[in-house]
């Protein structure tokens, strides 16, 4: 129950008590001296002097006193700063190691904060936002969007959410003055700006009701950057009209600076109400179609409502809708996600990457702490004398430990401050590592707010515990008798040598794991690059031509498309060219249709669906997708001809079970089409997708004036572009293609997550190995100087220089090997966490383990080269005499 007394002492002011006791003691002693014949003044001085080590005595009783404790901290801090200034080399090295460790962590924290946890600046109550998507029981993956009528019904019936925020990413050509560029924006529900608490700085947000009626409300809010850059900050911009998606829109507001919308990864440039959806989707009006699913949105839960409660409510509403509208809603549900798991923006792609990054930087911090711990141990021996003196002066061991911990904490605090600076530099690193996409402003910022700062401060305390506690305990446990002997001072006892070796083991093991991770990801990236998406990546270029925004009616657009294909095919080096609504590996999504096939009965609660693409003649040949049977579309498959389709092998296998479907029919959205061909299954969205049924329909029979253009050619994008622009301008000088890139580039843009992970792991893996090598060097150098006498003795007894080198090397290599064995065991356990980032590479790939071992081995050899060389140069006489 000591602490209770301690506390009572604190409040009863033990210090005052002791002072009074001391006054009494001195008074009595003075009286005594006076009785023995001293003059009163001299007696008092003598008594005071006799009380002597008054501060020392106070220091010990003061253990029970909080105020004293705070005062001690201040003195410890001042002393620690003096010690750190006195050893600038040590301080610099230790601070550098820790800054690296804490900085890397702070950077990843700030990314997680800015991208996953609170991704939307200026948006209020992000803690209560959850992402909403639809589900489709039959499909794999089963995620889908939500239709507008369903969205409205969910909103009406919900009692647990106080706002439903609908949106869908969209794009258009924004031409202001003589500059025309692609711009990214969003179609939103009318409550959007009110619900997220963002007030436009000019004009207004959207009014209630502006999200209903087909193209009824052509109004737009533009971003601050768009206002500044494209409209030159025009103060009278509100009320002006601007053509968006081929229709004049009235600009009704300017969003505040620093608001980028609610889509992780991209900065939006404009917002229009959902009523304009038909115009932005090239004329396909979905607002009143319960089967057309396109909305990705958010709910704001009422305070105190959990996501599970809200999910239960949403599911029950969805079940009711399913019963009410079976033909559109069979098998359909609704799913809620915490904001950081939002599946429909770049958060989904970055979540595993940031997870890996977090593990990696924690490992780097551990390695850095081990290094600083090693440095402190080494310095502990140098300071042994100081410790001994202070101990024999009566300073408590607890005080000594606290003193050393304070020094550690100050080091860590300096490093944490430096770390936050590093994190600030790295704020935009993710955006720089992410490949650009035409027409999209990337925004992947780190956000350094009080939470990140608090987390970094916590790290600073934890790492101090990690690196300073063991050395402090050892240093304060100096054996007073042993310390008097001359030898003990040089290299420290067996226990600390043992601890230092353990620290190096840990470092070796951790860096081994990081290297294995890096090697696996590199192999995976190589495998991704070597993988075949099922179409040609070399010799095919892609771009897009937006005739819709240019105001073309479908008939005129069709003529333009045919004429352009004819012109391109006459160009030297162009083998073929084809339009399609989508190009593979686009970030936009394919159309999805419910389908029915003669003789195929779906389970009663499921509606079979398949994704499809609308393609022009020779599309399959241009992309190099082989036909298994039948034919692909020709110009004869036009509006007047019977409806036709080409299915892929996966769809053929699922619905016709091995029979050749050519000549049979499939019902798509209620329209029967005859199958004329079967194409080999390709990848359509990314390299990692699992095959699901996919089919093609002729672009002519399902027209879109916004179309991708694929060109099979030997020329590079740069050399073909002038010719392409010339041919387009010959048809219409007002139209320009968007960026022209190779299909290889198009595919690689989908591997950004892998590439970021590789970069992070390789950079930090290299840093980790470097730190570990420094640690090994420190231990070996200490060993050599510690054993200088022994080495000298061996040399005097006839050992050759090589023998001494072997001695040192064998110890170093034993440490390395032991560390590697631990590392292999650890790596076997944790590399599985890379999961989805690994493509066609086993998490236990022996090549990755072997290359990590080689790198660690080489680094160890380099690290112990100098100590070994020094050992071989031992001068027997000097060492023995010294």
């Amino acid at each position: 129950m000591g602490w209770i007394r301690r506390l009572r002492n604190t409040f009863a002011s033990a210090e005052g008590d002791f002072d009074e006791e001391r006054r009494f003691h001195i008074a009595e002693r003075t009286d005594d001296y006076v009785r023995r014949g001293m003059a009163p003044e001299a007696a008092r001085r003598a008594a005071l002097a006799r009380f002597g080590a008054v501060t020392l005595a106070k220091e010990r009783t003061g253990d029970a006193d909080m105020f004293r404790w705070i005062d001690d901290i201040r003195r410890d801090a001042a002393y620690a700063l003096r010690m750190l200034r006195r050893n600038p080399g040590f301080s610099l090295l230790a601070t550098l190691c820790l800054t690296l460790g804490i900085g890397a962590n702070a950077a990843v924290f700030s990314w997680i904060e800015g991208i996953l946890l609170r991704p939307y600046p200026l948006v209020v109550d992000q803690d209560r936002l959850v992402a909403v998507t639809g589900t489709n029981r039959g499909a794999r993956p089963d995620r889908d969007d939500v239709s507008w009528p369903d969205w409205i019904d969910l909103q009406r019936s919900s009692t647990l959410a106080d706002a439903f925020i609908a949106e869908k990413i969209t794009g258009t050509t924004l031409s202001v003055g003589d500059r025309a560029e692609r711009a990214t924006g969003s179609m939103v529900s009318a409550n959007y700006f009110d619900a997220i608490g963002v007030r436009p700085i000019l004009g207004r947000g959207f009014d209630a009701g502006e999200d209903s009626g087909r193209n009824a409300h052509p109004v737009a809010v533009i971003s601050y950057e768009t206002w500044q850059n494209r409209f030159r900050g025009d103060p009278d911009v509100v009320g002006k009209t601007q053509v968006l998606a081929g229709l004049p829109h009235t600009i009704v507001g300017v969003a505040p600076k620093g608001f980028y919308g609610t889509f992780v990864g991209y900065a939006f440039q404009f917002w229009v109400p959902a009523s304009m959806q038909g115009q932005f989707d090239a004329g396909v009006y979905k607002l009143e179609d319960r089967g057309a699913r396109w909305i990705e949105g958010y709910l704001r839960l009422k305070p105190g409502v959990t996501i599970e409660q809200a999910q239960a409510e949403m599911s029950s509403i969805a079940a009711r809708l399913e019963a009410e509208y079976p033909e559109t809603n069979r098998g359909r549900g609704v799913r809620l996600y915490p904001l950081w798991q939002t599946p429909f923006n770049n958060a989904a792609a970055l979540l595993p990457t940031l997870g890996v990054a977090l593990v990696v930087v924690v490992a780097v911090l551990l390695i850095a702490c081990a290094n600083v711990g090693n440095l402190l141990l080494l310095r502990g021996f140098a300071r042994q004398q100081e410790m001994t003196i202070r101990l024999s002066l009566g300073v408590g061991r607890a005080r000594l430990v606290r003193q050393l911990m304070t020094e550690g904490l100050i080091l860590a605090a300096i490093a944490a401050a430096g770390g936050l600076v590093v994190a600030r530099w790295l704020r935009d690193a993710l955006a720089l590592l992410t490949p650009p996409r035409g027409g999209v402003l990337l925004r992947l910022p780190g956000e350094i707010d009080w939470r990140v700062i608090a987390a970094s401060a916590a790290l600073c305390v934890v790492s101090t515990m990690l690196f300073a506690l063991a050395p402090a305990m050892i240093a304060s446990n100096v054996d007073l008798a042993g310390a008097l002997k001359a030898e003990a001072g040089v290299g420290g006892g067996h226990r600390s040598a043992w601890i230092r070796s353990t620290l190096v083991l840990v470092q070796m093991a951790l860096s081994f794991v990081l290297l294995v991770g890096g090697a696996l990801l590199i192999e995976s990236l190589l495998a991704v690059r070597a993988a075949s998406p099922g179409f040609s990546t070399d010799g095919v270029l892609t771009t897009s031509v937006d005739l819709f925004t240019a105001g073309y009616q479908p008939q005129r657009a069709k003529v333009f498309q045919d004429a352009l294909i004819d012109r391109l095919q006459t160009l030297a080096g162009v083998e073929s060219a084809a339009f399609s609504r989508m190009t593979p590996f686009s970030y936009r999504s394919y159309g999805t249709a419910p389908i029915a096939v003669d003789g195929y009965d779906a389970p009663p609660d499921r509606q079979p669906t398949a994704d499809y693409n609308e393609i022009g003649p020779a599309f399959l040949a241009t992309l190099g997708i082989p036909l298994v049977s039948g034919r692909e579309f020709t110009r004869a498959d036009d509006e007047a001809a019977p409806l036709v389709a080409v299915v892929d092998e996966t769809m053929a296998a699922q619905f016709w079970r091995g029979l050749d479907p050519v000549g049979r029919r499939v019902q798509v959205r209620g329209r029967w089409m005859t199958i004329v061909g079967v194409a080999r299954t390709a990848r359509y969205r990314n390299l990692l997708e699992t095959p699901s049924p996919f089919f093609y329909v002729p672009l002519r029979q399902n027209f879109s004036a916004v179309a991708a253009l694929q060109i099979r050619t030997r020329q590079s994008a740069a050399s073909l572009r002038p010719a392409l622009v010339r041919e387009i301008h010959a048809l219409d000088p007002n139209i320009a293609p968007s960026e022209l890139i190779s299909m290889r580039e198009q595919v690689e843009r989908t591997t950004a997550a892998q590439r970021i992970s590789v970069t992070i792991l390789v950079v930090f893996g290299a840093i980790a190995v470097m730190l570990a090598a420094v640690g090994l060097y420190g231990v070996m150098a200490a060993t050599v100087s510690q054993r200088a006498r022994e080495l000298a003795l061996r040399m005097a007894l006839g050992a050759r220089a090589e023998d001494l080198v072997t001695l040192v090397l064998s110890k170093a290599l034993a440490l390395t090997a032991a560390g590697m064995i631990i590392g292999i065991a650890a790596a076997l356990l944790v590399t599985r966490l890379l999961g989805y980032l690994l493509y066609r590479v086993s998490p236990r790939d022996p090549r990755a383990f072997a290359s990590a071992a080689i790198v660690i081995g080489a680094a160890s050899l380099v690290a112990c080269f100098v100590p070994a060389w020094r050992a071989s140069r031992t001068d027997p006489l000097r060492a023995l005499r010294g």
């Binding site: 006791e21 009494f24 009595e28 009380f51 002597g52 009783t61 430990v401």
Partner: protein
Amino acid sequence: MLRRRRKPDALQGTLDLLVLKTLSRGPQHGYGIAAHVESISGDILRVEEGSLYPALHRMEHLGWIAADWQTTANNRRARIYKLTRAGLKRLDEEELRWERLTKGVGKVLRFA
């Protein structure tokens, strides 16, 4: 909680013994304890205030002695310490230990 792990060394134990023994004669203040030890030992033993008061406070924490403020004959407020039951038991143990220690040391000295 390093304080608790700290083992009493021989010297500290000796001071404890002297204090407990002095208090077994009756309650006394810190100065009185020091003066008693010094005068009885003929000034061979000198009690340092820097050791005495921490020892008193420590023993008080341990419950071997108890203290309260009283006014002395010359009208000064003094903190008077007295032995508790636990302290009495401790005194016996310490005396026994001390006898064993001096006996052992004596043997060694005679032998060498």
